[in-house]
């Protein structure tokens, strides 16, 4: 006997993500899902961003790592609320992990919640965690072939931050190719070229983040 179903496999995750989104929006918290490969500079980007905008926006951070609390310690040195999720092997955060940890954050004291996903260019792109915007970080040391090798994350993100551009003179990498391929995959993608080390290019990213926070949740409108 056949039982017809036609059910979305990730429907359960998406339902919890929607609940997270409602909870955050009711608390007037704007949320970002920050994704990249390991070592692209997510924590450094966050440190700089909190340092620059901390006077104007109140940040909160959820750190996702397979194990350890290194990143959470770096971020908590900025005096912002941080909670750590250790996935103990899982390669991405899902909506339920976020749902379980949200009660540990003082949402009424947070304007921008950043979910720093597990370093991985593949899996995090698939799982909605209830964020208002997905932002991807790519460091140029990873190579200019990445957009066409890992298209999904580029397609699902609203903004791409290309990091470590201070290393351009030392590498055989084409920023132009990264830009062209990423925009080809996702014509609406906003691209920022920055060095989180020197601070070059960061102002444009800060401007976008502040503007994007004002427009709030665009989910479903994109």
């Amino acid at each position: 006997m056949k039982v017809k179903l036609v059910k979305k496999i990730l429907a359960a995750n998406d339902r919890i993500a929607e609940a997270n989104r409602r909870l955050l929006s009711d608390a007037e918290v704007f949320s970002l899902n920050l994704m990249s490969a390991p070592g692209a500079g997510k924590t450094t980007l966050l440190s700089r961003t909190i340092g620059a905008l901390g006077g104007k926006l109140r940040f909160g951070v959820i750190e996702g790592d397979i194990q350890g609390t290194h990143d959470a310690e770096v971020i908590s040195a900025h005096g912002v609320p941080v909670v750590q999720i250790n996935t103990e092997g899982a390669c991405h955060l899902d909506a339920n992990m976020i749902n379980e940890i949200l009660p540990q954050l003082p949402l009424e004291e947070i304007d921008v919640l950043v979910v720093e996903n597990v370093g991985n260019l593949v899996c995090p792109a698939e799982f909605d965690v209830g964020e208002d915007a997905k932002v991807m970080l790519l460091s140029i040391t990873e190579g200019d072939d990445k957009p066409l090798k890992y298209p999904l994350m580029f397609q699902k993100s609203e903004a791409l931050i290309i990091n470590k551009i201070d290393l351009v003179p030392h590498l055989d990498v084409s920023l132009e190719k990264i830009r062209r391929d990423a925009q080809g995959l996702n014509p609406k993608l906003r691209i920022f070229e920055v060095s989180c080390k020197s601070g070059e290019g960061m102002e444009a990213w800060y401007g976008w983040l502040q503007g994007r926070k004002e427009s709030g949740s665009l989910h479903g409108a994109l």
């Binding site: 039982v3 179903l5 390669c91 899996c123 792109a125």
Partner: protein, 114 residues
């Protein structure tokens, strides 16, 4: 890498459907997986075999891979491609296309013992 999460979600759906329909043994689970969904079929099959239990303990997973396809407004044609992404219309080279298949992740049906 996240195929195990996907396999567990499939098995949750199967378990709920079995409870609803009152079936105790599932022979086969059919799923549609888009080629652009980021799921590797081999890895999903392996994960499913590791995670299956209960009514689905002996079930096989049948995967239908859906190619990436879309519609071009410039040349008014429908297309499908071998790749996981499309940067331009494969027929006319234009930029005015929409992608409407290749991201599927769904359970289609179950074959169960009566």
């Amino acid at each position: 890498m996240h195929e195990l999460s996907i396999a567990m979600s499939i098995l949750d759906i199967v378990r709920d459907a079995c409870a609803e329909e009152g079936c105790s043994r599932v022979e086969k689970v059919r799923v549609r997986i888009g080629k652009a969904s980021g799921i590797m079929a081999d890895s999903l099959l392996f994960s499913f075999d590791c995670a299956r239990s209960g009514a689905a303990a002996g079930a096989t997973l049948e995967i239908e891979e859906v190619p990436v396809g879309g519609h071009c407004r410039d040349c008014a044609s429908d297309f499908t491609v071998e790749e996981k992404y499309v940067l331009e219309c494969p027929l006319c080279g234009g930029p005015a296309f929409t992608i409407d298949s290749g991201h599927e992740l769904e359970v289609v049906d179950l074959e169960v013992d009566d």
